[in-house]
């Protein structure tokens, strides 16, 4: 459980730190970078969204058991 929590949350924590830096220095936020990237590579963004959605649905919305 510790490993799963470490892997799952550490990237988010690092991104939160970068977001703090961007917000404090009044730069364009992470969301704007993500939006730009998704507009530039829409199919890749769609594929990643499907993968992420399937994973989240699998991990957090399993009804069996």
């Amino acid at each position: 459980m510790g490993f799963v929590a470490l892997v799952g949350l550490s990237t988010l924590a690092l991104l939160a730190v970068s977001d703090i830096f961007l917000t404090e220095s009044k730069r364009a936020s992470v969301g704007e970078w993500v939006t730009l990237w998704a507009k530039r590579y829409p199919m890749f963004a769609l594929a990643l969204t499907l993968v992420a959605g399937a994973l989240l649905g699998h991990f957090y919305w399993a009804t069996a058991g």
């Binding site: 459980m1 510790g2 490993f3 799963v4 929590a5 470490l6 892997v7 799952g8 949350l9 550490s10 990237t11 988010l12 924590a13 991104l15 939160a16 730190v17 977001d19 703090i20 917000t23 404090e24 220095s25 009044k26 730069r27 364009a28 936020s29 992470v30 969301g31 704007e32 970078w33 993500v34 939006t35 730009l36 990237w37 507009k39 990643l48 993968v51 992420a52 994973l55 699998h58 991990f59 957090y60 399993a62 058991g65």
Partner: protein
């Protein structure tokens, strides 16, 4: 005493009145007061620090428990209902999601950076794009995300094939053993997701049709 009819009148009669703005458009186009953006920026920083602290707290708690105990902190299999109830968890997470979006939308951005950001949208040739460094960072984070996805899928496949707890059970176990702490961590994640993956104000960032 009737008024004289002029040739301009028919055209004036046929001219259409401008349509009243729809409520949804008024909401979407509402401009946040500029004076308050600085306050929202600091609120964003404080909430981001809180979210970071909650994530670190969750990681430290999970790792320290794993290192000091041999069995799981919950029943086997973990219960699906615990305290706080699931609807409370979902409600708090939704609030955090909306809060994340609103803070990201209303925080102030230095005009110098926003102008640079808008100008760079027009760059068509990657070789001349001065955002190489930022692009490298984003691609690195993307690579980390994909590697993590591969790792989680391998773990899930191996555990399912060997009749060991799948990742879903670890999530349920965290909720069962430490409901409030799990809710705080989940709300932190949703706050960050709301900041990053909810499209920003279309009036500022959407492409125009022209």
């Amino acid at each position: 005493m009737s008024a004289a009819v002029t040739p301009q009148q028919p055209a004036a009669v046929t001219r259409k009145e401008p349509k009243p703005e729809r409520l949804i458009d008024r909401i979407l186009n509402w401009q946040f007061p500029e004076r308050a953006r600085g306050v929202v920026t600091w609120i964003s920083v404080v909430l981001l620090l809180v979210a970071f602290a909650l994530l670190v707290w969750g990681m430290v708690s999970a790792v320290s428990y794993t290192l000091t105990h041999t069995g799981p902190p919950c029943t086997n299999p973990p219960q699906r209902e615990a305290s706080p109830p699931q609807w409370v968890m979902v409600g708090v997470c939704l609030l955090a999601f909306v809060l994340g979006h609103l803070t990201a939308r209303w925080q102030s951005i230095d005009p110098k950076h926003s102008q640079r950001h808008k100008n760079l949208r027009e760059v068509d040739h990657p070789e001349t794009d001065p955002r190489k460094r930022e692009a490298l960072i984003i691609q690195t984070l993307l690579l980390v995300f994909l590697v993590e996805v591969i790792g989680l899928l391998i773990i899930e496949a191996v555990t399912l094939s060997q009749n060991v707890w799948p990742i879903t059970y670890y999530v349920r176990c965290a909720y069962d053993a430490a409901g409030v702490q799990s809710m705080a961590a989940a709300a932190s994640i949703l706050f960050l997701v709301g900041r990053w993956f909810w499209l920003p104000d279309r009036g500022q960032n959407a492409r125009t049709r022209s």
